[in-house]
Protein backbone atom coordinates (compact mmCIF):
# COMPACT_ATOMS: atom_id res chain seq x y z
CA UNK A 1 0.00 0.00 0.00
CA UNK A 2 3.00 2.29 0.54
CA UNK A 3 5.75 2.25 -2.04
CA UNK A 4 8.97 4.21 -1.84
CA UNK A 5 10.68 3.98 -5.20
CA UNK A 6 14.30 4.99 -5.81
CA UNK A 7 14.07 8.01 -3.53
CA UNK A 8 17.21 10.13 -3.21
CA UNK A 9 17.67 13.24 -1.11
CA UNK A 10 20.77 15.35 -0.68
CA UNK A 11 20.85 18.19 1.80
CA UNK A 12 22.95 21.31 1.14
CA UNK A 13 24.10 20.10 -2.29
CA UNK A 14 27.30 21.68 -3.57
CA UNK A 15 28.37 22.97 -0.17
CA UNK A 16 30.85 21.76 2.40
CA UNK A 17 27.88 20.49 4.43
CA UNK A 18 26.58 18.32 1.60
CA UNK A 19 24.92 15.23 3.02
CA UNK A 20 23.37 12.42 1.04
CA UNK A 21 20.58 11.49 3.42
CA UNK A 22 18.69 9.03 1.24
CA UNK A 23 20.31 7.09 -1.56
CA UNK A 24 18.15 5.13 -3.96
CA UNK A 25 15.80 4.10 -1.17
CA UNK A 26 13.26 1.40 -1.95
CA UNK A 27 10.64 0.04 0.42
CA UNK A 28 7.22 -1.50 -0.09
CA UNK A 29 4.80 -1.94 2.78
CA UNK A 30 1.86 -4.31 2.67
CA UNK A 31 -1.46 -3.56 4.27
CA UNK A 32 -1.21 -4.15 8.01
CA UNK A 33 2.57 -4.31 8.13
CA UNK A 34 4.10 -3.12 11.41
CA UNK A 35 7.69 -2.41 10.48
CA UNK A 36 10.36 -1.42 12.98
CA UNK A 37 13.24 0.64 11.61
CA UNK A 38 16.73 0.65 13.09
CA UNK A 39 20.05 2.08 11.98
CA UNK A 40 23.00 4.11 13.15
CA UNK A 41 23.26 7.87 13.39
CA UNK A 42 22.61 9.55 10.07
CA UNK A 43 21.42 6.34 8.43
CA UNK A 44 18.39 8.19 7.06
CA UNK A 45 15.62 6.84 9.30
CA UNK A 46 13.94 10.12 10.15
CA UNK A 47 14.69 11.42 6.67
CA UNK A 48 12.70 8.52 5.24
CA UNK A 49 9.72 9.35 7.47
CA UNK A 50 9.98 13.02 6.49
CA UNK A 51 10.00 12.03 2.83
CA UNK A 52 6.81 10.05 3.34
CA UNK A 53 5.10 12.88 5.23
CA UNK A 54 6.21 15.46 2.68
CA UNK A 55 8.28 17.83 4.84
CA UNK A 56 10.22 18.44 1.58
CA UNK A 57 10.27 16.91 -1.88
CA UNK A 58 12.85 14.24 -2.73
CA UNK A 59 15.44 15.01 -5.42
CA UNK A 60 14.22 12.04 -7.40
CA UNK A 61 12.11 8.95 -7.00
CA UNK A 62 8.49 8.65 -6.04
CA UNK A 63 6.26 7.91 -3.07
CA UNK A 64 3.01 6.09 -3.71
CA UNK A 65 0.15 5.40 -1.33
CA UNK A 66 -2.60 3.04 -2.49
CA UNK A 67 -1.51 3.47 -6.09
CA UNK A 68 -1.67 7.26 -5.88
CA UNK A 69 1.58 9.11 -6.50
CA UNK A 70 1.89 11.66 -3.67
CA UNK A 71 5.48 12.76 -4.34
CA UNK A 72 4.43 16.31 -5.25
CA UNK A 73 1.54 16.60 -2.81
CA UNK A 74 2.06 19.25 -0.10
CA UNK A 75 2.53 18.09 3.47
CA UNK A 76 -0.82 19.34 4.76
CA UNK A 77 -2.71 17.56 1.97
CA UNK A 78 -1.15 14.16 2.38
CA UNK A 79 -1.75 14.40 6.11
CA UNK A 80 -5.10 12.75 5.44
CA UNK A 81 -3.27 9.47 4.74
CA UNK A 82 -0.75 9.79 7.52
CA UNK A 83 -0.67 9.82 11.32
CA UNK A 84 2.57 11.00 12.89
CA UNK A 85 4.19 10.94 16.31
CA UNK A 86 7.50 12.73 16.75
CA UNK A 87 10.45 12.15 19.05
CA UNK A 88 9.93 15.43 20.88
CA UNK A 89 6.75 15.25 22.97
CA UNK A 90 6.32 19.01 22.38
CA UNK A 91 6.11 18.56 18.61
CA UNK A 92 2.92 16.57 18.23
CA UNK A 93 0.44 18.65 20.19
CA UNK A 94 -0.59 22.28 20.60
CA UNK A 95 0.42 23.07 24.19
CA UNK A 96 -1.89 26.03 24.73
CA UNK A 97 -4.96 24.18 23.52
CA UNK A 98 -7.14 21.76 25.43
CA UNK A 99 -6.75 17.98 25.18
CA UNK A 100 -10.13 17.72 23.51
CA UNK A 101 -9.32 20.57 21.11
CA UNK A 102 -6.14 18.77 20.06
CA UNK A 103 -8.09 15.58 19.45
CA UNK A 104 -10.77 17.49 17.53
CA UNK A 105 -8.06 19.01 15.32
CA UNK A 106 -6.75 15.54 14.54
CA UNK A 107 -10.25 14.21 13.96
CA UNK A 108 -10.61 16.72 11.11
CA UNK A 109 -7.34 15.74 9.46
CA UNK A 110 -7.92 15.51 5.72
CA UNK A 111 -11.39 17.02 5.98
CA UNK A 112 -12.57 20.45 5.02
CA UNK A 113 -12.55 22.85 7.95
CA UNK A 114 -15.51 25.16 7.77
CA UNK A 115 -17.58 27.32 10.07
CA UNK A 116 -19.14 24.48 12.01
CA UNK A 117 -18.30 24.44 15.71
CA UNK A 118 -14.81 23.03 16.26
CA UNK A 119 -15.91 20.19 18.54
CA UNK A 120 -19.25 18.44 19.05
CA UNK A 121 -20.80 16.95 22.17
CA UNK A 122 -20.75 13.46 20.67
CA UNK A 123 -17.05 13.82 20.00
CA UNK A 124 -16.34 14.73 23.60
CA UNK A 125 -17.94 11.47 24.70
CA UNK A 126 -15.91 9.56 22.13
CA UNK A 127 -12.67 11.19 23.30
CA UNK A 128 -13.50 10.45 26.91
CA UNK A 129 -13.78 6.74 26.06
CA UNK A 130 -10.59 6.72 24.02
CA UNK A 131 -8.65 8.54 26.73
CA UNK A 132 -9.98 6.13 29.37
CA UNK A 133 -8.43 3.26 27.40
CA UNK A 134 -4.99 4.86 27.80
CA UNK A 135 -5.33 4.30 31.54
CA UNK A 136 -3.52 7.54 32.37
CA UNK A 137 -6.39 9.28 34.10
CA UNK A 138 -6.81 11.74 31.24
CA UNK A 139 -10.51 11.04 30.69
CA UNK A 140 -11.43 13.51 33.41
CA UNK A 141 -9.11 16.22 32.08
CA UNK A 142 -10.59 16.84 28.63
CA UNK A 143 -10.52 20.61 28.97
CA UNK A 144 -7.02 20.78 30.48
CA UNK A 145 -4.35 22.41 28.36
CA UNK A 146 -2.00 19.83 26.84
CA UNK A 147 0.93 21.90 28.11
CA UNK A 148 0.09 20.71 31.63
CA UNK A 149 0.73 17.06 30.75
CA UNK A 150 3.93 15.08 31.24
CA UNK A 151 6.00 13.97 28.26
CA UNK A 152 4.59 10.45 28.37
CA UNK A 153 1.02 11.71 28.59
CA UNK A 154 1.61 14.02 25.65
CA UNK A 155 3.00 11.18 23.54
CA UNK A 156 0.00 9.03 24.44
CA UNK A 157 -2.38 11.82 23.40
CA UNK A 158 -0.39 12.34 20.18
CA UNK A 159 -0.67 8.61 19.46
CA UNK A 160 -4.39 8.81 19.93
CA UNK A 161 -4.54 11.84 17.62
CA UNK A 162 -2.46 10.06 14.99
CA UNK A 163 -4.73 7.04 15.04
CA UNK A 164 -8.03 8.96 14.71
CA UNK A 165 -9.77 8.53 11.34
CA UNK A 166 -7.76 5.37 10.62
CA UNK A 167 -4.82 6.80 8.69
CA UNK A 168 -3.44 4.63 5.87
CA UNK A 169 -0.06 4.71 7.57
CA UNK A 170 1.23 5.54 11.03
CA UNK A 171 4.74 7.01 11.35
CA UNK A 172 6.43 6.78 14.74
CA UNK A 173 9.75 8.62 14.84
CA UNK A 174 11.56 7.40 17.99
CA UNK A 175 8.49 8.48 19.85
CA UNK A 176 9.66 7.00 23.16
CA UNK A 177 13.29 8.16 22.98
CA UNK A 178 12.73 11.29 25.10
CA UNK A 179 10.94 9.40 27.86
CA UNK A 180 12.32 7.60 30.90
CA UNK A 181 12.50 3.79 30.50
CA UNK A 182 9.37 3.01 32.49
CA UNK A 183 7.26 5.61 30.69
CA UNK A 184 8.75 4.57 27.35
CA UNK A 185 7.62 1.01 28.00
CA UNK A 186 4.12 2.15 28.82
CA UNK A 187 3.87 4.33 25.72
CA UNK A 188 5.15 1.44 23.60
CA UNK A 189 2.50 -0.84 25.05
CA UNK A 190 -0.14 1.78 24.21
CA UNK A 191 1.27 2.05 20.68
CA UNK A 192 1.05 -1.73 20.26
CA UNK A 193 -2.54 -1.71 21.43
CA UNK A 194 -3.62 1.15 19.17
CA UNK A 195 -1.87 -0.36 16.14
CA UNK A 196 -3.40 -3.77 16.77
CA UNK A 197 -6.92 -2.57 17.43
CA UNK A 198 -7.01 -0.26 14.41
CA UNK A 199 -5.00 -2.58 12.11
CA UNK A 200 -2.71 0.31 11.27
CA UNK A 201 0.11 -0.07 8.77
CA UNK A 202 3.04 1.30 10.76
CA UNK A 203 6.64 2.42 10.42
CA UNK A 204 8.31 2.74 13.82
CA UNK A 205 11.84 4.03 14.24
CA UNK A 206 13.54 2.94 17.42
CA UNK A 207 17.09 3.03 18.73
CA UNK A 208 16.41 0.05 20.94
CA UNK A 209 17.21 -3.16 19.08
CA UNK A 210 15.31 -5.28 21.56
CA UNK A 211 12.19 -3.21 21.00
CA UNK A 212 12.72 -3.46 17.27
CA UNK A 213 12.74 -7.25 17.52
CA UNK A 214 9.93 -7.48 20.04
CA UNK A 215 7.44 -5.27 18.22
CA UNK A 216 5.93 -5.57 14.77
CA UNK A 217 6.01 -8.24 12.10
CA UNK A 218 8.91 -6.92 10.08
CA UNK A 219 12.24 -5.24 10.74
CA UNK A 220 14.37 -3.13 8.43
CA UNK A 221 17.81 -1.76 9.07
CA UNK A 222 19.04 1.34 7.29
CA UNK A 223 22.60 2.33 6.48
CA UNK A 224 23.87 5.26 4.44
CA UNK A 225 20.46 6.25 3.16
CA UNK A 226 19.01 2.93 2.12
CA UNK A 227 17.78 -0.36 3.50
CA UNK A 228 20.37 -3.09 3.97
CA UNK A 229 18.43 -5.62 6.01
CA UNK A 230 14.75 -6.55 5.72
CA UNK A 231 13.49 -9.50 7.78
CA UNK A 232 9.92 -10.54 8.41
CA UNK A 233 7.66 -13.23 9.78
CA UNK A 234 9.11 -16.17 11.59
CA UNK A 235 12.69 -15.22 10.81
CA UNK A 236 12.15 -11.92 12.62
CA UNK A 237 10.53 -13.53 15.66
CA UNK A 238 13.63 -15.64 16.17
CA UNK A 239 16.11 -12.78 15.77
CA UNK A 240 18.57 -11.90 18.51
CA UNK A 241 20.49 -8.66 18.93
CA UNK A 242 23.76 -10.48 18.13
CA UNK A 243 22.26 -11.81 14.89
CA UNK A 244 21.32 -8.28 13.91
CA UNK A 245 24.84 -7.01 14.56
CA UNK A 246 26.32 -9.87 12.51
CA UNK A 247 23.91 -9.16 9.69
CA UNK A 248 24.83 -5.52 9.82
CA UNK A 249 28.57 -6.19 9.63
CA UNK A 250 28.06 -8.50 6.66
CA UNK A 251 25.69 -6.19 4.80
CA UNK A 252 27.57 -2.95 5.36
CA UNK A 253 31.15 -4.13 5.70
CA UNK A 254 31.58 -2.10 8.87
CA UNK A 255 30.90 -2.20 12.59
CA UNK A 256 27.54 -0.96 13.82
CA UNK A 257 28.18 2.47 15.23
CA UNK A 258 25.64 4.49 17.10
CA UNK A 259 26.09 6.41 20.28
CA UNK A 260 22.49 5.85 21.15
CA UNK A 261 21.68 2.35 19.98
CA UNK A 262 20.86 0.10 22.85
CA UNK A 263 22.34 -3.24 22.12
CA UNK A 264 21.18 -5.08 25.18
Amino acid sequence: MLEIKNVTKTFNPGTINEKVALKDLNLTLNDGDFVTVIGGNGAGKSTMLNAISGVWKPDCGSIIIDGQDITAMPEYKRAKFIGRVFQDPMMGTAADMEIQENLALAKRRGKKRGLRWGITGAEKEEYKKLLAQLDLGLETRLSNKVGLLSGGQRQAVTLLMASLNNPRILLLDEHTAALDPKTAEKVLAISDKIIRENHLTTLMITHNMKDAIKHGNRLVMMHEGHIIIDVKGEEKQKLKVEDLLDMFTKASGSEFASDRAMLS
Binding site: M91, A94, A106, R108, R109, G152
Partner: protein, 299 residues
Protein backbone atom coordinates in the same frame (compact mmCIF):
# COMPACT_ATOMS: atom_id res chain seq x y z
CA UNK B 1 -7.16 70.92 37.64
CA UNK B 2 -8.49 67.76 39.22
CA UNK B 3 -11.86 68.45 37.64
CA UNK B 4 -10.25 69.04 34.29
CA UNK B 5 -8.63 65.66 34.61
CA UNK B 6 -11.92 64.07 35.65
CA UNK B 7 -13.69 65.74 32.76
CA UNK B 8 -11.17 64.32 30.31
CA UNK B 9 -11.73 60.73 31.41
CA UNK B 10 -14.83 59.98 29.27
CA UNK B 11 -12.93 61.20 26.21
CA UNK B 12 -9.99 59.04 27.19
CA UNK B 13 -12.36 56.10 27.60
CA UNK B 14 -13.78 56.59 24.10
CA UNK B 15 -10.36 56.95 22.56
CA UNK B 16 -9.10 53.99 24.59
CA UNK B 17 -11.93 51.84 23.28
CA UNK B 18 -11.14 52.77 19.67
CA UNK B 19 -7.50 51.84 20.23
CA UNK B 20 -8.69 48.79 22.14
CA UNK B 21 -10.55 47.63 19.02
CA UNK B 22 -7.35 48.19 17.11
CA UNK B 23 -5.46 46.20 19.76
CA UNK B 24 -7.84 43.27 19.29
CA UNK B 25 -6.49 43.13 15.74
CA UNK B 26 -2.97 43.11 17.15
CA UNK B 27 -3.99 40.39 19.61
CA UNK B 28 -5.07 38.13 16.73
CA UNK B 29 -1.70 38.32 15.00
CA UNK B 30 0.59 38.70 18.00
CA UNK B 31 -1.03 36.34 20.48
CA UNK B 32 -3.01 33.89 18.37
CA UNK B 33 -0.90 33.59 15.19
CA UNK B 34 2.42 34.35 16.92
CA UNK B 35 3.30 36.93 14.26
CA UNK B 36 4.44 40.47 15.02
CA UNK B 37 2.51 42.23 12.24
CA UNK B 38 3.65 45.78 11.55
CA UNK B 39 1.08 46.27 8.78
CA UNK B 40 -1.19 47.85 11.37
CA UNK B 41 0.66 51.19 11.38
CA UNK B 42 -0.43 51.54 7.76
CA UNK B 43 -3.77 49.75 7.76
CA UNK B 44 -5.27 51.86 10.56
CA UNK B 45 -4.60 54.91 8.40
CA UNK B 46 -6.01 53.14 5.34
CA UNK B 47 -9.24 52.63 7.29
CA UNK B 48 -9.38 56.29 8.31
CA UNK B 49 -8.47 57.50 4.82
CA UNK B 50 -11.06 55.36 3.02
CA UNK B 51 -13.78 56.32 5.47
CA UNK B 52 -12.96 60.06 5.31
CA UNK B 53 -12.73 60.19 1.51
CA UNK B 54 -15.98 58.30 1.00
CA UNK B 55 -17.94 60.27 3.60
CA UNK B 56 -16.70 63.64 2.34
CA UNK B 57 -17.81 62.54 -1.12
CA UNK B 58 -21.33 61.91 0.10
CA UNK B 59 -21.26 58.18 0.73
CA UNK B 60 -23.24 56.86 3.68
CA UNK B 61 -21.01 56.45 6.74
CA UNK B 62 -21.95 52.78 7.26
CA UNK B 63 -21.01 51.91 3.69
CA UNK B 64 -17.83 53.92 4.08
CA UNK B 65 -16.93 51.88 7.17
CA UNK B 66 -17.69 48.63 5.37
CA UNK B 67 -15.37 49.64 2.52
CA UNK B 68 -12.72 50.64 5.08
CA UNK B 69 -13.03 47.19 6.65
CA UNK B 70 -12.59 45.49 3.28
CA UNK B 71 -9.64 47.75 2.39
CA UNK B 72 -8.01 46.78 5.68
CA UNK B 73 -8.55 43.10 4.93
CA UNK B 74 -6.79 43.60 1.59
CA UNK B 75 -3.77 45.15 3.33
CA UNK B 76 -3.60 42.06 5.55
CA UNK B 77 -3.78 39.86 2.46
CA UNK B 78 -0.79 41.71 0.97
CA UNK B 79 1.32 41.04 4.06
CA UNK B 80 0.06 37.45 4.11
CA UNK B 81 1.08 36.81 0.51
CA UNK B 82 4.46 38.51 1.01
CA UNK B 83 5.04 36.29 4.03
CA UNK B 84 3.76 32.91 2.84
CA UNK B 85 3.91 32.85 -0.96
CA UNK B 86 7.06 34.97 -1.23
CA UNK B 87 8.76 33.59 1.88
CA UNK B 88 9.57 36.97 3.45
CA UNK B 89 9.88 36.96 7.26
CA UNK B 90 6.60 38.17 8.76
CA UNK B 91 8.06 41.23 10.45
CA UNK B 92 9.68 42.41 7.21
CA UNK B 93 6.56 41.61 5.18
CA UNK B 94 4.61 43.90 7.53
CA UNK B 95 7.18 46.69 7.17
CA UNK B 96 7.03 46.41 3.37
CA UNK B 97 3.24 46.61 3.36
CA UNK B 98 3.42 49.54 5.76
CA UNK B 99 5.62 51.37 3.27
CA UNK B 100 3.35 50.43 0.37
CA UNK B 101 0.42 51.79 2.36
CA UNK B 102 2.14 55.11 3.01
CA UNK B 103 1.91 55.84 -0.72
CA UNK B 104 -1.48 54.19 -1.11
CA UNK B 105 -2.96 56.17 1.78
CA UNK B 106 -1.66 59.44 0.32
CA UNK B 107 -3.18 58.50 -3.04
CA UNK B 108 -6.51 57.60 -1.42
CA UNK B 109 -6.71 60.94 0.37
CA UNK B 110 -5.02 62.99 -2.35
CA UNK B 111 -3.32 64.98 0.44
CA UNK B 112 -1.91 64.40 3.89
CA UNK B 113 -5.00 65.35 5.85
CA UNK B 114 -8.77 65.33 5.33
CA UNK B 115 -11.11 67.13 7.71
CA UNK B 116 -14.20 65.18 8.74
CA UNK B 117 -16.20 67.52 11.00
CA UNK B 118 -19.40 66.15 12.50
CA UNK B 119 -21.27 69.41 11.81
CA UNK B 120 -20.92 68.81 8.06
CA UNK B 121 -21.41 65.08 7.90
CA UNK B 122 -23.60 62.36 9.31
CA UNK B 123 -21.15 60.40 11.48
CA UNK B 124 -21.80 57.71 14.07
CA UNK B 125 -19.47 59.19 16.66
CA UNK B 126 -17.55 62.37 17.42
CA UNK B 127 -15.43 63.86 20.16
CA UNK B 128 -18.05 66.43 21.13
CA UNK B 129 -20.66 63.71 21.75
CA UNK B 130 -18.54 61.69 24.15
CA UNK B 131 -21.33 59.78 25.87
CA UNK B 132 -23.11 58.68 22.70
CA UNK B 133 -19.73 57.84 21.19
CA UNK B 134 -18.99 55.55 24.11
CA UNK B 135 -22.36 53.83 23.67
CA UNK B 136 -21.73 53.31 19.94
CA UNK B 137 -18.28 51.93 20.71
CA UNK B 138 -19.66 49.61 23.37
CA UNK B 139 -22.04 48.17 20.78
CA UNK B 140 -19.18 47.75 18.32
CA UNK B 141 -17.00 46.05 20.91
CA UNK B 142 -19.81 43.72 21.95
CA UNK B 143 -20.64 42.61 18.42
CA UNK B 144 -16.99 42.25 17.44
CA UNK B 145 -16.08 40.13 20.46
CA UNK B 146 -19.15 37.94 20.00
CA UNK B 147 -18.24 37.34 16.34
CA UNK B 148 -14.59 36.62 17.13
CA UNK B 149 -15.50 34.33 20.01
CA UNK B 150 -17.73 32.38 17.66
CA UNK B 151 -15.17 32.32 14.85
CA UNK B 152 -12.27 31.07 16.98
CA UNK B 153 -14.50 28.27 18.21
CA UNK B 154 -15.24 27.01 14.70
CA UNK B 155 -13.19 24.41 12.86
CA UNK B 156 -11.58 27.12 10.76
CA UNK B 157 -10.88 29.37 13.74
CA UNK B 158 -9.45 26.45 15.70
CA UNK B 159 -7.07 25.73 12.83
CA UNK B 160 -5.82 29.34 13.08
CA UNK B 161 -5.16 28.94 16.79
CA UNK B 162 -3.35 25.66 16.16
CA UNK B 163 -1.18 27.25 13.46
CA UNK B 164 -0.03 29.94 15.89
CA UNK B 165 0.53 27.41 18.64
CA UNK B 166 2.43 24.64 16.82
CA UNK B 167 2.91 25.00 13.09
CA UNK B 168 4.51 21.57 12.53
CA UNK B 169 1.73 19.82 14.35
CA UNK B 170 -0.81 21.82 12.37
CA UNK B 171 0.63 20.68 9.05
CA UNK B 172 0.76 17.10 10.32
CA UNK B 173 -2.94 17.43 11.12
CA UNK B 174 -3.71 18.58 7.60
CA UNK B 175 -4.02 22.32 8.17
CA UNK B 176 -2.92 24.56 5.31
CA UNK B 177 -0.88 26.83 7.55
CA UNK B 178 -0.23 29.39 4.80
CA UNK B 179 -3.95 29.92 4.33
CA UNK B 180 -4.43 30.07 8.09
CA UNK B 181 -1.80 32.82 8.42
CA UNK B 182 -3.21 34.85 5.54
CA UNK B 183 -6.72 34.53 6.94
CA UNK B 184 -5.54 35.68 10.36
CA UNK B 185 -3.76 38.69 8.88
CA UNK B 186 -6.85 39.54 6.82
CA UNK B 187 -9.16 39.47 9.84
CA UNK B 188 -6.69 41.37 12.01
CA UNK B 189 -6.11 44.20 9.57
CA UNK B 190 -9.81 44.41 8.76
CA UNK B 191 -10.45 45.12 12.43
CA UNK B 192 -7.54 47.58 12.58
CA UNK B 193 -8.85 49.49 9.55
CA UNK B 194 -12.31 49.58 11.11
CA UNK B 195 -10.81 51.16 14.22
CA UNK B 196 -9.11 53.66 11.90
CA UNK B 197 -12.49 54.56 10.40
CA UNK B 198 -13.90 55.04 13.91
CA UNK B 199 -10.87 57.10 14.95
CA UNK B 200 -11.15 59.43 11.93
CA UNK B 201 -14.78 60.12 12.78
CA UNK B 202 -14.08 60.57 16.48
CA UNK B 203 -11.19 63.02 16.06
CA UNK B 204 -12.83 64.69 13.05
CA UNK B 205 -10.05 64.13 10.55
CA UNK B 206 -7.97 61.53 8.80
CA UNK B 207 -4.23 62.07 8.74
CA UNK B 208 -1.36 60.29 7.01
CA UNK B 209 0.44 60.07 10.36
CA UNK B 210 -2.47 58.76 12.41
CA UNK B 211 -1.07 55.23 12.46
CA UNK B 212 2.47 55.99 13.45
CA UNK B 213 3.38 53.78 16.39
CA UNK B 214 0.00 52.05 16.37
CA UNK B 215 1.65 48.67 16.86
CA UNK B 216 3.19 49.88 20.13
CA UNK B 217 -0.12 51.16 21.48
CA UNK B 218 -1.71 47.89 20.39
CA UNK B 219 0.95 45.83 22.13
CA UNK B 220 0.65 47.99 25.25
CA UNK B 221 -3.12 47.38 25.33
CA UNK B 222 -2.62 43.65 24.80
CA UNK B 223 -0.04 43.45 27.59
CA UNK B 224 -2.09 45.53 30.03
CA UNK B 225 -5.15 43.48 29.14
CA UNK B 226 -3.32 40.22 29.81
CA UNK B 227 -2.09 41.50 33.16
CA UNK B 228 -5.62 42.52 34.16
CA UNK B 229 -7.63 39.57 32.94
CA UNK B 230 -5.52 36.40 32.68
CA UNK B 231 -5.71 35.69 36.38
CA UNK B 232 -9.50 36.01 36.30
CA UNK B 233 -10.28 33.97 33.21
CA UNK B 234 -8.57 32.19 30.34
CA UNK B 235 -11.72 32.38 28.26
CA UNK B 236 -11.21 33.84 24.79
CA UNK B 237 -14.03 36.40 25.09
CA UNK B 238 -12.70 37.56 28.46
CA UNK B 239 -9.22 37.94 27.03
CA UNK B 240 -10.57 40.11 24.22
CA UNK B 241 -12.52 42.21 26.72
CA UNK B 242 -9.24 42.48 28.60
CA UNK B 243 -7.57 43.91 25.50
CA UNK B 244 -10.27 46.61 25.22
CA UNK B 245 -9.84 47.40 28.91
CA UNK B 246 -6.11 47.52 28.24
CA UNK B 247 -6.69 50.20 25.60
CA UNK B 248 -8.84 52.23 27.97
CA UNK B 249 -6.31 51.98 30.81
CA UNK B 250 -3.57 53.05 28.38
CA UNK B 251 -5.51 56.22 27.54
CA UNK B 252 -6.34 56.93 31.17
CA UNK B 253 -2.64 56.83 31.96
CA UNK B 254 -1.89 58.88 28.84
CA UNK B 255 -4.40 61.51 29.85
CA UNK B 256 -3.11 61.55 33.41
CA UNK B 257 0.57 62.04 32.57
CA UNK B 258 -0.39 64.86 30.22
CA UNK B 259 -2.32 66.52 33.02
CA UNK B 260 0.68 66.08 35.26
CA UNK B 261 2.53 68.25 32.77
CA UNK B 262 4.55 65.71 30.85
CA UNK B 263 5.86 66.87 27.48
CA UNK B 264 3.52 65.25 24.93
CA UNK B 265 6.44 64.82 22.56
CA UNK B 266 7.92 62.25 24.91
CA UNK B 267 4.83 60.04 25.04
CA UNK B 268 5.71 57.76 22.15
CA UNK B 269 9.14 57.15 23.60
CA UNK B 270 7.68 56.37 27.00
CA UNK B 271 5.09 54.01 25.50
CA UNK B 272 7.79 52.17 23.62
CA UNK B 273 9.95 51.90 26.73
CA UNK B 274 7.08 50.59 28.83
CA UNK B 275 6.23 48.00 26.16
CA UNK B 276 9.90 47.01 25.87
CA UNK B 277 10.12 46.41 29.59
CA UNK B 278 6.90 44.42 29.68
CA UNK B 279 8.09 42.27 26.80
CA UNK B 280 11.39 41.71 28.60
CA UNK B 281 9.88 40.64 31.90
CA UNK B 282 8.86 37.10 30.85
CA UNK B 283 12.29 36.63 29.25
CA UNK B 284 14.11 37.82 32.35
CA UNK B 285 11.91 35.65 34.52
CA UNK B 286 12.86 32.62 32.47
CA UNK B 287 16.52 33.47 32.27
CA UNK B 288 17.30 34.60 35.78
CA UNK B 289 14.57 33.37 38.06
CA UNK B 290 13.86 29.77 37.11
CA UNK B 291 15.55 27.12 39.16
CA UNK B 292 17.05 24.22 37.24
CA UNK B 293 14.54 21.43 37.41
CA UNK B 294 15.53 17.80 37.75
CA UNK B 295 14.46 15.94 34.65
CA UNK B 296 11.53 13.99 35.93
CA UNK B 297 8.91 12.46 33.73
CA UNK B 298 5.92 10.44 34.67
CA UNK B 299 3.27 8.93 32.52
Amino acid sequence: MFFNWLGALPGAAAQGMIWGIMAVGVYITYKILDIADLTVDGSICTGGAVCAVLVTNGVNVWIAMLVALIAGMLTGAITGVLHTFMGIPAILAGILTQLILWSVNLKIMGKANIALPIRNYDLILAQINTVSSILVLLAFVGIMIALLYWFFGTELGTSLRATGNNINMSRAQGINTDVAKILGLVISNGIVALSGALLAQYQGFSDINMGRGAIVIGLAAVIIGEAVITRISQNMACRLIGVIIGGVIYYFVYQTVIFLGLDADLLKMLSAMVVAIFLAVPYWKKKYFTKAKGGHHNA
